[in-house]
Structures are given as structure tokens and as C-alpha cells.
Symmetry: C2
Subunit: 906 residues, 2 copies
């Protein structure tokens, strides 16, 4: 006996039992077929039909595009079954059976594969249908559709060879829309269409069985069309899924104005998620007419009065379907002379907002578990909800009208509109003094620019990648940002930015889309979601936290005792407040150098350039007073939660002007005979501090060892601040993090010295505050020697940006707008390792380090504070490796909380 390839709708429960799961049924019968069959088995009115399985499709390709053995016979048997069920017969001259032949893969590939309608019509059955329906116009319209569809899909002719003559005919007859054509017109067109097929050397078969056979072939073939293959590659759908073929009895919504019609409906509002039927109905029409927008549709409620019984039934059945599938359904249906038929049901697409609301509502309606609800919302959905966006329509128009100025790396999502300015000071001034909306434009940004960035609505840069300074800071503060827009030519001097012929000057309006990486040379309309009102999101995330804390209770070697927590990268009290509001369980990274920005950079500059010890000490004292206050407020905001303070990390020359700018300036002065001693002196200093590869240079712990006075001041400030907070009744939990360690020897050199300073401050205040000293793991060597480093370090935090940089040997600043972009274009690398953690290489280091670190110091806290801390796949990795927390920018906390829970549930 040959294998079973063909399944009647009625057989679905049996199949489900046999295959063991609904998912297996969907894999076998495709989404459309499985759902049609399920509806039938639930007693819902579905036109009789059957499904040829995806296995048949795969076998078809295995045996050189022939029907697998037994398939055609089984098809004929199934067809006979339909004939019996409907009392109609294929090719019958009195009561002919018409069917559709529809593709349907397990995963939805909208518009990618083919469907042939009205199969069974020929010159003879058309006459029978006219007699039966008494509607000549309907029959010829259907017939010409079959000829046209068959010709295009089965015979491979082009649609325009039919559409063009039709258009010409309408013009000739002075008609505009298809519904103006009469029965006679369609009859003429049918003949014309048949002739066109012959003229193109093809044949439209009059034999309905032949029509069916060749349509099945065509649907199978459509699985391997170029467009389908491309789509699958992009959507990550395996090529060996195959498509099923559904043969379904035709029903007709175009059998009259009063009691026939066709509709689509969602069981909830797909835009808002509101629990209310949402759909459209078109009287006297066939399925695709609704979508095609040929006439204005009626709201679905209009059925209530016009065909009340069908409406009532539809309401009941659609609710049953939603309950059965425990998900909002997207339903296609037809009413044929008052009889309701369901043609399709599937989980409905919806906006992020609706997704969250529906998931939460379904939990509260008792239909699904919290876990299921959480899994139905993706991190991208949360991302979308957190940032303002452009009105899609106006954005599309701008694209079409040539307003798209440049594209770069989408570095920080969201939409921003403002006037461009080229310098941080100017940006600040324009905002503070003139209350302008500002977009900052820079070749790249430096810490010196941060005061300008913070007040800007958006940022774009010519250089840098997704983890460049601009990108990191922008994400940190939720400022929409596009970096590495390399087509732009920025003239800082003349304050212009140019792409081709378009020249923008200071003060010109642009719109920056940090979600798509686009920059528009115009003002676009934005939509700003109100975060505080996202009640459902808040609820969903609190469930995620609960599950993480509960499900996360894992035991086993080197596993932490709690699930993955989400901490925040936050440098200022305001940041910390926001982080806490967004649900952070601690600060995983407070970058103390960010406290040296704005006016304070001048004090730091004094320290750097000081020639005498006294000058140096004065500068330090000034900085200490400021930092102490910063820390005090930070500890107040984070009372009861750990705050990891990272000692100064960047090279000091970042706080001075850039070498090339200075050389340009000084050379110009010199050539003009102007002597500027300060500038010359500054140049000498900057030259002296210049490094070939600053990323691998004098920064982090190296700086601490070479210039210990700076970090000693910082430690004093941290503990002074903590003591002040404690005296005010708060509970500070300071944890000191030493950056860029490569060798335990570096910690040995500096840590005891700093611990001494801390102890002295606490002694002075006679206060007992718990604290820790730990280190970042950001060089491969640190990761390789984690066991050794854990002798001194009480916690680890992976700085995955630097770690990725050094493990790959890719300078993130250069690579992301350079060869790495090319790699991604060429498909050399499947993804940007600065975006999602490279689990094979960098991940291997992390795993080694976690194992060895926890062997030395069981249960130690280990986290990630690089940019990856807010990226879902990296969070999954962090969870799998058994980290204690991920730390990310406050705005990414909701995404991270969801991802952390996903990591546990998946």
C-alpha cells in the first residue's frame, strides 16, 4: 500500500492523535489546511475539502517533480468524497462541482505561493452554472478568472497580457471599474482570454480533472519559485518544509446583493488589542475583492441587521475559534445565499501594542498562562513601544519624494525631528537659549560632546558603528541616533553636511529615524507613545520578573542562586531614578568618567596638564567635592540596591582636543606668523599623550597604576558619598569595579591600595558599610585567567564590547562603519558580533572564565555590562551560562527583563 498523502478535513483529529501534536499536524497539512480541517472537525461550517500533505510536496521534489506514488489516486478518492458530500460532480453538466486549489505551508509566507480558483469551469459546466445560479454575469466573471488564473499560475503566462486587453475594453466602453461590466462583457472577455492563451502557444484544458492535476503541479512548483526561496532565506524558514495543497469546494459570496457576500474579521482590534470584533464585509463579492478595495466595504456589524442569522453564527463561531486556538483570530468567511462558510482562520497579525494587551487580556480571561503570554511578546515589540516613531505614511511619502538624505547604522531607536547643529556648545545654546529642537551632527562624538548630545532630540554621525561612543550614549539616554552615515560629507568648519547635491546648513530641519537608520532632509510627523500608560506592559514585565525569580532557582555547579536579573548602566542620579522606575535591580555600571563632562572637563584638564603638584592637588580636590555629591545622590536613589562604580576608564587624552584639530589650528597660526604659546603648549601635551591604538593603550587599570592619585580620589568620593547617604538614613551598597585588567598582577598592585583608602573613609565616619571590589573582564587574557583573578576580585562584569573587540581584533569604531559592514553585506559573517554576542569565540572565553572564576570563588556575582546586556540573544546566552545579571541602559531594561524571562522559558 502506498503512503497516505491526502487527508480529508474530517480526518484531522485522527491525524493529530497519530502525530502527537498540533504542531506536527501543521507541519503535515500546512497552516491553512490544518486550520480548515480543525474548523471542520469542530463542527464549524467549512466548504468540504481535503489537503495534499507537505510530505507529498517534498516527495514530489525527491522524485524529479512527479506526483509521489499513490497521491493522484488518493486525490481522486478524496474528490469523490467531496462530490458525495456536496451532491455535486466534477464536470457535471447539471450540477458541476467547482473547487479551489490553494497552497498552504506550515509557516505563513504571505503572497509567496499560488492559488487557483473556480477550477471545474469549462464551456459546458459554465452553461450548467448559469442555469443553476441564474446569474450569467457571475459565471462568466468566474470563468474568465479561472482562465486568467490558470494561465498565469499553471501555464506561466504574464498577468498583463490579460489585464491590458481588459483595460482597453473598458476604455472603449467608457467604463472605469470591473463591476460596471455586464454578463455579455464578461462573456466576451472569457472568449478573448481563451484566445490569448492559444495565441501564446498554450492551452487551457476543458477537462476539469486535468485542471485540478495541473493546478496541483503548479502549487508544488511555486514552493521553489525564486521569490519563495528568497523569502524563506530572509525569514529563516527551512527549505524542506514543503507546501501542502488544499482542494476546497468553491463557495460564492457573489450570488446576490442581499444574502451573499464575503468578509474578513479579527476577533480583537489588531491595532489597539481591544476586545471587540473588528472587520469588514462586502456584499455580493468574492474573497479577494475585499482586499482589492474595489468597492467600499461595510463594517462587519452591518451583517447584524442584513443577515442576522449568519451574523449571530459568525459571532459564536469566531469566539469559539479564539478560545480553541487561545489567540486572536484573523478569519476569512463567505456568506452564500445566507449560508455562512469559514474559509480560513489564523492567528492574526497585530501591532506591538495590541500584542501586549491581548496577551495580558488572554491571561486574565484564563485562556493562557503568564508564560505563554510572555512568550507571545517579542523584545522587538517592547522596543517598539518604548520609542517615538514617525508616522509611517508621511515617512513613506518622504522616501518617495526624494527627501531621504542618507542611511547609516540604526544605533538608537526612535524618531527625532530637529534643526542640525555641528558643535556641542551650539547645540546646548540653541536648546537652552532658544528652546529649539536640535539634531546634533558630528563626524563622530567624544565624551566632550556629551553635554550637547544630552540636550539634542537626535544625533547623526558620519563615522562609528552600533557601539561607537555616539551610539552607546544615545541608547543610554534613549536619544534616536544614526551613526556611520558614511555618504555624508561633513564640513565642520563651514557647518554644512552634504550628500550629492543636497547641502544642509546649520539650522536646517532633518528627521532622524534611529529604528531604520534613515535621515530625512525634512520634518516628519512623529507619534510618541505614552509610557506611563502602558499598564499591560508593566503587568507583563512584572510577571516576567516573577518567573525569573522563581524559575531561575537553579541548582548545580557554578550556577547562581537566583535567575538572571536586569541591572542598569546609569551614571547620574536622574539615570538611576529612571532605571529603578524601569525595574532595574541594581546599577551594573556607573561610568565615573561621565561625571567629568561639561564644565568639569576643564578641572580634569587642569589635572592632566598640571606641571606642579599643587595645581594637581587643587584640581583633584575640586573634582572630589563634585563626585562625592554625585555619589551621595546616586546611593540615595538606589538605596538598598547594589551600585557598581567603575573607576575612570578612558585614556586621558580623550579629555583634550584631538591631535589633528590642534595641528591644523597651530599650523595655520604658525603660517600666519601668530605665536600662541598656550596652543603650542597644548599641542606638545597632546602629542606626548598621543597613542597609535588608544583602545589598547593607557586606560583603565593601567591609568590607575600610572596615575594612582586620580582613582584614590574617586574611591574617597565614593565612600564619602556612601557615608553621607547612610547618615541620611539610606542604605548604600557600593561595589568598586576596576576596569581593563589583563593580569592579576595589575589588581595586586592597585586593589589593596584602594581598599585601604575605602577603609580609612569608613573609619573616619565610624560607619559600617558593606562593599566589594571586583573587576571588569574585557581583555581575553583576563577571561583566560579568571580563576587567578577571582583570588582578588569579588565579582566579575564582562565588558563585552571590549572583549569582542580584542577577541576578534576588530576595532569597533573602525570596523562597524568599515570592513565589518562589508562583511555583513557579503554575508561573510551572519551577524555583527558587537550587536549580538559571538557565542563560539567570545562566548567560549566567557564560559571558561565563569567556570574558573566560580571554582575559585563559589557563587560569585558575574554579570555583563557591555552593550550586549540589552540584546535578547545575548541575554539568552547570559542566562544559559548562569550569569547573575545583565546590565544595560535604562531604556532597554524592559526589553532585557522580557528577554531574561524568555531565556528561561525557551
Amino acid at each position: 500500500m502506498s503512503k497516505k498523502w491526502v487527508f480529508l478535513f474530517e480526518e484531522v483529529n485522527e491525524v493529530e492523535k497519530e502525530r502527537g501534536s498540533w504542531n506536527a499536524v501543521r507541519l503535515l497539512l500546512g497552516g491553512k489546511g490544518a486550520n480548515l480541517a480543525k474548523m471542520a472537525s469542530l463542527g464549524i461550517s467549512v466548504p468540504p475539502g481535503f489537503t495534499i500533505s507537505t510530505e507529498a510536496c517534498n516527495e514530489y521534489y525527491k522524485v524529479n517533480e512527479k506526483f509521489p506514488e499513490g497521491m493522484w489516486d488518493q486525490t481522486m478518492v478524496a474528490l469523490k468524497h467531496i462530490e458525495e458530500k456536496t451532491g455535486k460532480k466534477v464536470g457535471d453538466t447539471v450540477n458541476p462541482l467547482l473547487v479551489s486549489c490553494r497552497s498552504g505551508a506550515a509557516q505563513s509566507m504571505p503572497g509567496m505561493m499560488d492559488t487557483v480558483l473556480n477550477i471545474g469551469l469549462n464551456d459546458v459546466t459554465a452553461q450548467a452554472m448559469i442555469k443553476l445560479t441564474n446569474n450569467e454575469r457571475f459565471v462568466y466573471d468566474s470563468y474568465r478568472r479561472l482562465v486568467q488564473g490558470y494561465a498565469c499560475i499553471v501555464l506561466g503566462l504574464k498577468d498583463e497580457i490579460f489585464e491590458k486587453p481588459l483595460e482597453e475594453y473598458k476604455k472603449e466602453k467608457n467604463m472605469k471599474f470591473d463591476n460596471e461590466l455586464t454578463a455579455e462583457d464578461w462573456k466576451v472577455m472569457t472568449e478573448k482570454f481563451k484566445k490569448i492563451v492559444i495565441d501564446h502557444g498554450k492551452e487551457f484544458p476543458q477537462d476539469p480533472i486535468e485542471q485540478i492535476r495541473l493546478s496541483i503541479h503548479a502549487v508544488f512548483a511555486s514552493w521553489n519559485s525564486d521569490r519563495a526561496k528568497v523569502y524563506r532565506k530572509k525569514a529563516n524558514i527551512p527549505d524542506d518544509l514543503g507546501t501542502a495543497v488544499n482542494i476546497v469546494t468553491m463557495v460564492f459570496g457573489n450570488m446576490g446583493e442581499k444574502d451573499s457576500g464575503t468578509g474578513v474579521a479579527f476577533t480583537r482590534n489588531p491595532s489597539t488589542g481591544e476586545k471587540a470584533l473588528y472587520g469588514e464585509f462586502l456584499f455580493n463579492a468574492q474573497g479577494e475583492d475585499v482586499v482589492a478595495g474595489i468597492r467600499n466595504t461595510d463594517p462587519i456589524v452591518s451583517l447584524e441587521t442584513k443577515i442576522p442569522e449568519a451574523y449571530k453564527k459568525f459571532i459564536e463561531e469566531s469566539q469559539r475559534l479564539e478560545k480553541y486556538f487561545t489567540e486572536m483570530q484573523d478569519i476569512e468567511f463567505t456568506v452564500e445565499r445566507g449560508v455562512l462558510y469559514f474559509l480560513q482562520t489564523r492567528d492574526g497579525k497585530r501591532t506591538a501594542r495590541a500584542k501586549v494587551k491581548i496577551a495580558v487580556d488572554l491571561v486574565e480571561e484564563g485562556l493562557i498562562t503568564k508564560e505563554k503570554a510572555i512568550l507571545r511578546v517579542s523584545p522587538d515589540d517592547v522596543d517598539t513601544l518604548l520609542h517615538p516613531q514617525f508616522n509611517e505614511k508621511s515617512q513613506e511619502e518622504a522616501r518617495k519624494s526624494g527627501k531621504l538624505f542618507a542611511k547609516g547604522v540604526a544605533a538608537s531607536p526612535g524618531a527625532a525631528v530637529g534643526r542640525i547643529y555641528f558643535e556641542a556648545d551650539t547645540c546646548e545654546k540653541k536648546v537652552k537659549e532658544e528652546n529649539q529642537d536640535v539634531i546634533m551632527v558630528r563626524t563622530f562624538t567624544k565624551p566632550d560632546d556629551v553635554h550637547g548630545m544630552l540636550v539634542s532630540k537626535g544625533i547623526f554621525t558620519n563615522q562609528g558603528g552600533a557601539t561607537s561612543h555616539a551610539a552607546v550614549v544615545a541608547r543610554q539616554f534613549g536619544i534616536p541616533c544614526v551613526v556611520g552615515a558614511s555618504a555624508t560629507i561633513i564640513d565642520q568648519e563651514n557647518k554644512t553636511v552634504r550628500v550629492g547635491d543636497i547641502l544642509l546648513k546649520e539650522g536646517d530641519w532633518v528627521s532622524v529615524d534611529g529604528t531604520t537608520g534613515e535621515i530625512f532632509a525634512c520634518k516628519l510627523e512623529t507619534i510618541k507613545p505614552d509610557l506611563t500608560k502602558q499598564v499591560e506592559l508593566t503587568k507583563l514585565l512584572s510577571w516576567a520578573d516573577e518567573i525569573c525569580a522563581k524559575e531561575g532557582m537553579r541548582s548545580g555547579e557554578n550556577m547562581p542562586s537566583k535567575g538572571l536579573q536586569v541591572w542598569a548602566n546609569a551614571d547620574y542620579p536622574a539615570d538611576a531614578k529612571r532605571a529603578r522606575m524601569f525595574g532595574a535591580k541594581g546599577i551594573g555600571l556607573c561610568r565615573t568618567e561621565h561625571m567629568f563632562l561639561g564644565d568639569r572637563s576643564l578641572i580634569l584638564r587642569k589635572f592632566i596638564l598640571a606641571k606642579e603638584e599643587k595645581e594637581k592637588q587643587n584640581a583633584l580636590a575640586e573634582l572630589q567635592a563634585l563626585q562625592t555629591k554625585d555619589f551621595e545622590e546616586l546611593f540615595v536613589e538606589m538605596t538598598g540596591l547594589p551600585v557598581i562604580v567603575r573607576l575612570i576608564d578612558p585614556p586621558l587624552h580623550e579629555f583634550l582636543p584631538t591631535l589633528t584639530d590642534l595641528i591644523e589650528e597651530v599650523s595655520t597660526l604658525r603660517a600666519k606668523g601668530v605665536e600662541d604659546k598656550d596652543k603650542e603648549n597644548l599641542l606638545t601635551n597632546v602629542k606626548e599623550m598621543h597613542e597609535s591604538n588608544p583602545m589598547l593603550g593607557l586606560r583603565g587599570v593601567r591609568l590607575s597604576i600610572v596615575k594612582p592619585e586620580l582613582v584614590q580620589m574617586q574611591i574617597t568620593a565614593v565612600f564619602e558619598g556612601a557615608c553621607q547617604a547612610k547618615k541620611r538614613g539610606f542604605e548604600p551598597i557600593p561595589e568598586i569595579m576596576i576596569p581593563l585588567v589583563s593580569h592579576i598582577a595589575e589588581l595586586k598592585q592597585i586593589q589593596p591600595e584602594l581598599e585601604k583608602v575605602a577603609a580609612e573613609v569608613l573609619k573616619k565616619y565610624e560607619l559600617d558599610i558593606k562593599y566589594k571590589f571586583g573587576t571588569m573582564i574585557e581583555t581575553p587574557r583576563a577571561a583566560l585567567t579568571g580563576g587567578e583573578i577571582a583570588h582578588l576580585a569579588e565579582f566579575f562584569s564582562f565588558g563585552t564590547n571590549d572583549l569582542t573587540q580584542m577577541t576578534f581584533g576588530y576595532s569597533r569604531d573602525d570596523a562597524e562603519s568599515g570592513f565589518l559592514m562589508r562583511y555583513l553585506q557579503l554575508g561573510v559573517l551572519p551577524e555583527n558580533p558587537f550587536k549580538s554576542i559571538d557565542t563560539d569565540g567570545v562566548g567560549k572565553l566567557i564560559r571558561m572564565c565563569v567556570t574558573e572564576g566560580r571554582t575559585q570563588r563559589p557563587g560569585m556575582d558575574i554579570g555583563i555590562c557591555g552593550e550586549h546586556g540589552g540584546e535578547p540573544r545575548s541575554i539568552k546566552f547570559a542566562s544559559d551560562v548562569g550569569l547573575t545579571y545583565v546590565s544595560c541602559s535604562p531604556f532597554r531594561i524592559p526589553i532585557a527583563r522580557l528577554s531574561a524571562c524568555h531565556a528561561l522559558l525557551k
Copy 2:
């Protein structure tokens, strides 16, 4: 019974048997005691004596600087034994026994510890000695020496309180040398010295036993003197070795002009290694007088006629000693009234040259094995033999007279004298046109400078470390070089270099010592060893190769089938020839970019700046013709041996002017209103290509992927060259190495493409040439994923410079003259990881990679081609890990060959 602390010389063979090895005896009795005792046991004439063990010394410190229990009693018994043997008696009024009390540790610490001579003299025994010797002058001279020595060593008084009165006395008496003093004079001085002791509140004991007791205390105490501790720390001698104390009967070479005297002799020439007795003799003198140079000594052969029996015996016995110790001996001896006494024998210090010759000679004399000979020569010795050096005396004088201009990193050993020039072109011109000796001075060097470097005698730079471009190139070509001389202020524009007040101008003479890192502002005398005449070195190294090939036959998992080979880093045919002469078994690294220097850089520049495809193709064709010829000659030179050709590695901007220079130039032109379109255009290009961290930027395989045409040209040239060589009857073995791979995907992208090019060339010539494609492992990620990478790569070569750089996150260019230098000063790191491989971190990666690589591809060739390839400890590591070869610059090959053998033997 108390422990045995005191050992008679006669007991030595028993001790050796009991302790199991000669080394254990030396540890117990110290070098001097053990050798004296061994001589005695061999029947060689040694004054009777005994040794108090080093264990006694250690116990002495354990029990708070008291003699350990039983030690003093044992000493008295041993003394009695000597008395019996000599027939003399301590303190005897007729025939008194005089002894010396000498320190002697297991490891020689010359001049660090104390010795007291003539113990046993007092007012009474002096008279007895006068009667016995009939030589009053000798006795009073000896007595005053005892008083003086005892006072200084035991009582802690200062030498000058005795020397000053002696000088005054001589002045008063109008005498110049000590030997002018009469018996009466010495009598007066003896009394004076005794009075000085009392005047300083101390006491010279008349009791000889008390003299012995306190002298032993003093010798023990000298073990822990400050200077001894400092010396031990520097020489890496453990503090718990302790010193032995030797009590030896005094013999006197100052008992007459004819038949008494004292001498020192080496059994071979310590300077040249020649097999001939080499020494001096001083008639009528005591030991230290020879060294003190009080009178001119006679050559040792003068003994032959004057005291023929003693001479004959000395010749016989000294040869016996050399044979017994199988090593050149350094002997002290005394002839007392015609009787020869050996006072000391030890392995003699010698020059590197002598060391090699003696080791080889001893093998050929059948005294030692080849292995032993090899182990007796250190890599530093070989290094010394390979480079010209300054005359030490003139160098020391220059230091003293303030001619030392600056110090930097000793980057490439050897001595160079020449006139300074600041630009590569000028250097080349001065050499080629004016035949000058040139020292190149640069802030740092770039590939563009190489033509100038190659013609220079020496190089010094202001920036960079031991693996900077300047250092690497210099070592490669054996050019003495000092880098990172950061105290220098180089003014390229005015062509001056300044340190403090010393200003050197173009054309001034300097001397560069690449071995010490010193730069002198003067001409120093140099000594140039003739390499081709180093017959013994050549022989020794051939033995090393033999042993490596034989002893290296190791089996076991992931071990190569042969011992560690030494290959060369060589870029040109002349290089290859030299490498082969020095014993290279292949070329491990041919840096093809070095073929783009000089005039050719202009062609490459055309390629880089080309705007049209045709320009680009023309430049490529020009380069290809040149490279093909280069490769052909390289394969000819290396016929039958593998040549690993690395595809272009550095970023292309290295072939253009530096950004800062250009900005300075263009800004100046602009300020002066001069429009230079070419320069402006060049600046735009250079700006575009600028990278923040070029070390982590667009280079290596990344460049190959982004600009495949360049490496395709290179592959064509390699295989065209190989085919040409093959046609001429040579046997080319090309191996292509792809640099800077981080991810197998990069190899997947480029390697098949290049293999295709290679196959096409071979097909064109219809030749069958074996070749391989492999990769450098220089990023941590490559090392971490070695198993994966070995799927495609047929061999690995660790680029340990970059690997160290990225594993530590230390930019070598910045670190070595910056914080890393500070780390080494502070002792944070014990050594520079760019110099000697970091076995814990970088080594861990290498081990992982070797294991995983060879698991995937058993027996694959794996080598090191970084700078570490020529460093002995790194070579040891490479051997231990089971690498196939190390590749180093031709001039380091001899060192590496020796080290590779040491690695196996140690």
C-alpha cells in the same frame, strides 16, 4: 649525638656517596670547600683543612646567630686532626699552626663574603715564626695583615683607618710600594695597628682559638650582609643556601725569592678558548698580591726554569683537575719553599667565544658529550658572538665623560657608529652618494622608511618598543637599534635631536648600542667578530640540530613527528640565502608587503589612489611582474625547503603619508593662500582611510576580502614565480599564509577563490607543484576556534606579537614605551610579554589551539613566526607545546637552534 657539621677534606668521597651527587656535596660544603676536599681526595697537594657546612650556617641563623649544638666541639676535633697532620699546633711557642678562615657558598659570589688569613699569630707565635722562618719581615707583614683583616672583618672597623696611617708612614719614609718596607717597618706598623684597634674601643684577641671562633662567626654573618643580600637577589641565588666556612692551614708564597711564590692559572685561554695553560706567577708573594697588581707578574712558564719540579707537578695536576671536572679550571696555587700547594680550583669564567671553543674541544677530546657541550653555551653567548660590539673600555670612558646621550629599549643588538640623518631618502643618499656611515633617527618608522633603514649602520627612535616596526626590521637585518628613547626631542623639520642641553644636528656622529640601549653623542671604537670563522659555533649548532632531529622523535597525541625546527623570517632572496647559511629549515614568514617598498611604494600608491579601474589594473600588473621575479628568486634560493608566503598584511594607509604630517602641510599651505590640489586630494584620501585603532582595523584577511584584487595578484605572482623556478630545475615549495583571520568564515570567503587562482597558474604551466594554504593565528578568536579553522587551514603559524597584543589588550607601539615600561619598573609584571611569551595567558590560547587544531587535522604543521620565535624561553615553550617550528629573523637563527636543543635537553 649531635649532627655532623664539620667535614675533613679527607671525608669528601664518603660524603659524596652518602649524599648521592656531587651537586649535593657542593650544596653542603660550598664550591670552594668541596673542590678543596675533592683535590685532597684525588691526592693533589692541598694544605690540610676542613669545612664547616652550609647547614651549620643555616642552623646558625635559625638559633639566633649561635653556633649550632656540637659544631664548636667538632671544629676543635678537626683542628686537632690538622695539628696532627701538620705536626704544628695552634698557639705553639715553637711550631705554631696558622690557618685561614674562608667563606665559600655553593654558588660563587665573588667578593661578597669574607675571609680572614694568618689566624694563629700573636705576640708569642710571631716570635716562634721568626725563629722558624728566619724571616722577620714576612712574619710582621703577616701579623699586621691579620690584625688589619681581623679588625675589619670580625670587629667591623673600616679599612681606611689602617690604610691611611700606612700611607702616611710610607710618605714620611719616602717610600712608594709596600715591598719597600723593611721588617722593622712592618713591626712598627703591627704595633700601630694593634693600637688603632684599641683606640677604636675594640680588642684584637691574643688567643688563637678565640681568633678562630670569632672569625667563623664573622664569615657566617657575612652571608647576611646587605651587599650579599643585594647580590643574591640580582643573581637569583636563594637566601637559604648558606655559606660554608673553610679552615685551611696557611701556606706561604712569601718565604723567599727563589723557591716561593703564588699564582693563578686557567687550564685554557679564557678569552679565546685555546688549549694552553694561561696564568701568572709572582715570586715571593702571597695570594692576593697577584690580583692586587702590586708588582708585575711573571708568565706562568717562568716557573719551568726556576722551580721545574713544582711546574711539572702543576702541569700534571691541573690537567688531572680539568679532566676530573671535565671543564676548564681556574686555579689558585702557592709554592712554599719549592713545595706546590693548590689553594682553589673552580670552573673558570670565560668569554662567549672561549665558551663555545672549549665546549666543542672538550667533546672532541672525549671529555664531555655533545649534549653537555650544548648546555654549557647559552643563547646569550651566541647572541654576543653574532653582533659587533663596542670596545668596553672606550664605552665606559664615554659614560664617565658625559657622552651618554640617551637610553631606550635595546631593540636589536650590536654596535653602530655613524652620522645621524632624519629621513630615509637622505640616509640612502648619504650612503649611496657619499659613502657615509649613517645612523637613522626617526620619531618612529614606517614601511616607507625601510629603504633608508636598510642602508643605515644603526637606528634610533623616540617612540616604539621592542617589537615596533623599527625594532622588528632592525633585528631582521641585524641592524643595531635602540627604540623608545623617549628623552630625546626630535625636530624633524630642523633636523635636530635634543636631550637637555645637548643638541645634535644632521651629520653629527653618534654611537648606538643595541645591546644596552645606549646612544652616545660621540664615536666609539667597535669590534666586529668574523662570523664565517666561527668554526666551533657552526659545529656546536650542527650538533644541536642533530639532537633536535633525533631527540625530537616524540610520539603521543598531537605531537609532531619531528623535533622543533628553526625557520626564518625572510622577505628577499638575499635574506633567504643568509637564512639558509645560518641553518634555517624553511622560510616561516615572507612578508610580501616588504616587496612593496622603495620605488615600488609609488606603484602601490597608484593602486590605492586609483579612481578608475584601468589605473588600478595597470598598477597591479606592474606590481605582479616585480613580485613574480622576487618569488622566483626566493624559491631558487630555498629550493627543496618550504617557503611560507604571507599575503599583504598592513593597512594600506601605511603606504601613504601620515595624516598629521599632511594636515600640517596642507594647513600651512592653506594659511599661506597656496592651493595644492594634489595635496588636498591626498589629504582627503588619507582622512578617509584613517582609522582610530589601525592595529585592529582594515588589514590582513579583511583587506583581502574588501580588496580581493590585490591578493589575487599576489597569488598569481607566487605561483608564476614558483613555476619559473621549477622550469629552471629548482624545487619550489610554496605555502600561502592568510593573515589576521578571526573567524572561519573569513577563510571560507577568500581561500577557495585564491586556491582557484593558484590552480589556474599551475594549469597554464602544466606543472605539478605541491602547495598548502594555511593561516596565521594572531587574534584570540582564531586561537579559540582553532579546531574549526583547521577545517580549511592546512597549517597554522602563531603571530605571537599580535596575539599578545590582543590577548592583553596592550598596543605594543604605545605600551612598550609607555605604561608597560612603567609596569616593569614598578615590578607589576615580572617581564615584558612582547619579549618572552606569556605562558599563562597567551600560552593557554596557543595550547588550546594546537590541541584542537591537531584533533581536527592530525599532525598538521604549526609554528610561531612572531618576534618570540627567536627568544629562548619562548622557544622552550614552543618545544613543550609540540610545535613544528619557530621562525625568526636570520640573525637569530643560531640562537634559536641552540635554544630549540636546550628546550629538549632541559
